[in-house]
Assembly symmetry: C2
Homo-oligomer: 399 residues x 2
């Protein structure tokens, strides 16, 4: 069995060759990953622009004049606005172009209006309340680098440069297969007590969707070698990543571990010294991947986060789908094995630091998914670590 660190290195060294891009409307861009640098094609603003309501003047006129004739109004959006001449001004509003001949805006609060003229009661510096050319950005500037996840500010900036269509990375198609003859699907009526309602398919679908992948729900397949083989072949031929649960342990009915190599997939690793999920297996066929997770709900969720998540993210052009932060243990932690342990914890932020506790978390088997409810994190306790005292700084995967 390899160590957790080795397994993570092996994942990060996998060559991802199917990083594909597509053009989408800006309205579909939120949450996607940019596949191009966004470069400003002009200065912004492209002309000097008023930042307030006031009177546009030439600043040097303040040496010679206190009173200025108002030549006219320059509302925002006006086309022909005329120019300012010596001893005169143009009333200019927020967002309007500055009239030719002017370089400074006297705010309306700084003047006294006398009919068709104004008297400046308080002067301002040259260029006051004028947005200079290129205040926001200059032509040729990279505004948003490729690989950026598009949020609200990116949407705004893209709209501001009139980008209707943008190039983003394609969403990898991720097939989800649950194996196990005992599994009762959601909505299906129970026929006997030996059937167990399973959540894996839907937890994993939600994880894929949350990461921005395109989930393809392949359903449940019983412990039958031919049926499993057929479902996996359908999945791998139509999707970029196949994520399966169950069938990777040492039992007589654990067929997945044998079928994946028979698909022609090369096993990258099988078995990692982690708890939960030590039987996890990652395999590759061409530019596609099979990530076979254990069947227990908590184990499959944790190993998805450790192995499938990073692969999906890398296919979308980002490195780290989950943030790993440092936090302080509020309570002692008892290590239960000589493996790297991943323990569901409560993560709180107080006094400028993150804190970890386990209140309300249940001990027991790796089947307990409820431990991941709420604002849970996943505390990492290394292979070499023993029990940890309260106050210890630990690493936590934010979910």
């Amino acid at each position: 069995m390899i160590s957790y660190e080795t397994s993570q290195n092996m994942i990060s060294l996998l060559s991802i060759t199917n990083l594909r891009s597509e053009r989408v409307f800006l309205s579909s861009g939120l949450g996607r990953i940019l596949a191009e640098d966004i470069v400003a094609d002009s200065d912004y603003p492209i002309h000097p622009t008023s930042a307030m309501d006031g009177y546009a003047i030439a600043h040097r006129d303040l040496e010679n004049y206190e009173t200025f004739e108002v030549l006219g109004d320059n509302p925002a959006g006006a086309d022909d606005i005329g120019g300012v001449i010596s001893g005169a001004c143009i009333k200019t509003f927020t967002g309007s172009l500055m009239p030719s001949g002017s370089d400074t805006l006297i705010p309306i609060e700084n003047v006294r209006v006398n009919g068709d003229s104004i008297t400046v009661t308080k002067t301002v510096g040259k260029g006051f309340a004028v947005r200079p050319v290129g205040e926001s950005y200059r032509k040729g500037e990279v505004l948003i680098p490729r690989g950026t996840k598009i949020g609200f500010a990116e949407i705004g900036v893209l709209a501001g440069i009139n980008r209707v269509m943008i190039r983003v990375t394609q969403r990898p198609r991720v097939a989800i297969i649950a194996t196990g003859s005992e599994i009762l699907d959601i909505g299906e009526e129970s026929r006997h007590a030996g059937q167990i309602r399973s959540s894996n398919s839907y937890t994993l679908q939600a994880l894929v969707d949350t990461l921005g992948g395109e989930s393809v729900q392949m359903g449940i397949v019983g412990d039958d070698q031919d049926a499993i083989m057929e479902r996996f072949e359908e999945a791998i031929s139509s999707c970029d990543i196949v994520v399966s649960t169950g069938g990777v342990s040492v039992g007589d009915y654990d067929f997945v571990k044998d079928i994946v190599p028979r698909l022609g997939a090369k096993v990258i690793f099988k078995g990692v010294n982690i708890k939960p999920g030590q039987h996890v297996m990652v395999a590759q066929r061409g530019d596609k991947f099979v990530v076979s997770l254990p069947g227990f709900a908590y184990s499959s969720t944790v190993t998805f986060i450790l192995y499938a998540g990073p692969l999906i993210a890398r296919m979308m052009g980002i490195e780290n789908p989950y943030e790993v932060i440092e936090a302080t243990l509020k309570v002692p932690f008892v290590k239960r094995s000589n493996k790297s342990e991943f323990t569901a914890c409560n993560l709180s932020f107080e006094e400028g630091r993150y804190w970890v506790d386990f209140e309300g978390k249940k001990g027991g088997s790796s089947a307990i998914l409820t431990n991941l409810l709420g604002n849970a994190g996943l505390m990492i306790c290394g292979e070499e670590d023993g029990d940890l005292e309260a106050g210890t700084l630990v690493r936590v995967i934010k979910l």
Copy 2:
């Protein structure tokens, strides 16, 4: 002008009466807010269940026997599995029900197989590798309280209790109106230099979508009182919240501030001692709200986050749409006004703490949306605060 703190109190004291719920398929539940407590309707597991592959025995038999007759196989999902009798065992797999008469599983690693019988080479404690009834949860336990945002673990737990349909809060409909005769819409060709490409509508739409509201894009309307009045009436009659940009300042063409009261909306406040966005106005008509933001890109984005975001969140049944965290200033901060200032900053997490700096952020007017690109936060500097030294602990809104 009221203070920022007063304005926030006024927002939080507004009575939200239109908190409506709806039933959706679980597949549409991700990211929605639960409008019901989710209660376990049975213990889980409902029967003792095997947590490994091994041989099910009665633990007291270990006092009298070393060798056990194997009565048969009990694969996961089997219906009629028979019972264990004294001196005998049943081979039982992960996820299988424990046979009647058995209480303990001897892992396959702990036995030597001799034809139809096994010899136990290493004993285990009573109940070993058996998931007891109710290990995950007990009947009647509140698994997920109302008000929880549904993430992957909630989806999994809901699927596990066979909840196909769930009750969630309705997404408030949020109309977005941009005002200003100078505004050139995305995709529209420029006719003259006085037109300015505006991003507000799309930034705000992305903010609404990110929060989980239902955005209704009402488009751009010029500085014409009748046109603005008509567009606002259409928006408020069809939506729960109207968010507008522009027209709230003191200029001759700032019509929004006058039109909102004419709609029959009661002004909750107009003007807050903040920078940017001091002219922001919040009004209420019946159970609906109008949030009128300034026109500059940075100002409208910040005031949306401060005022529209919380209202949208409260209509969905959650209190805080944005997390406010404490961070340490890496560099000095120069306060520019006697207002509460909201400054775009870089937020990094190192050595167990959040840090704030302003590298790459441009000074200048409130028009610079690019400052919010990347992983920006919004640093809060209070009305009473002056310049801040490096090392000061500040509050930052995480975006």
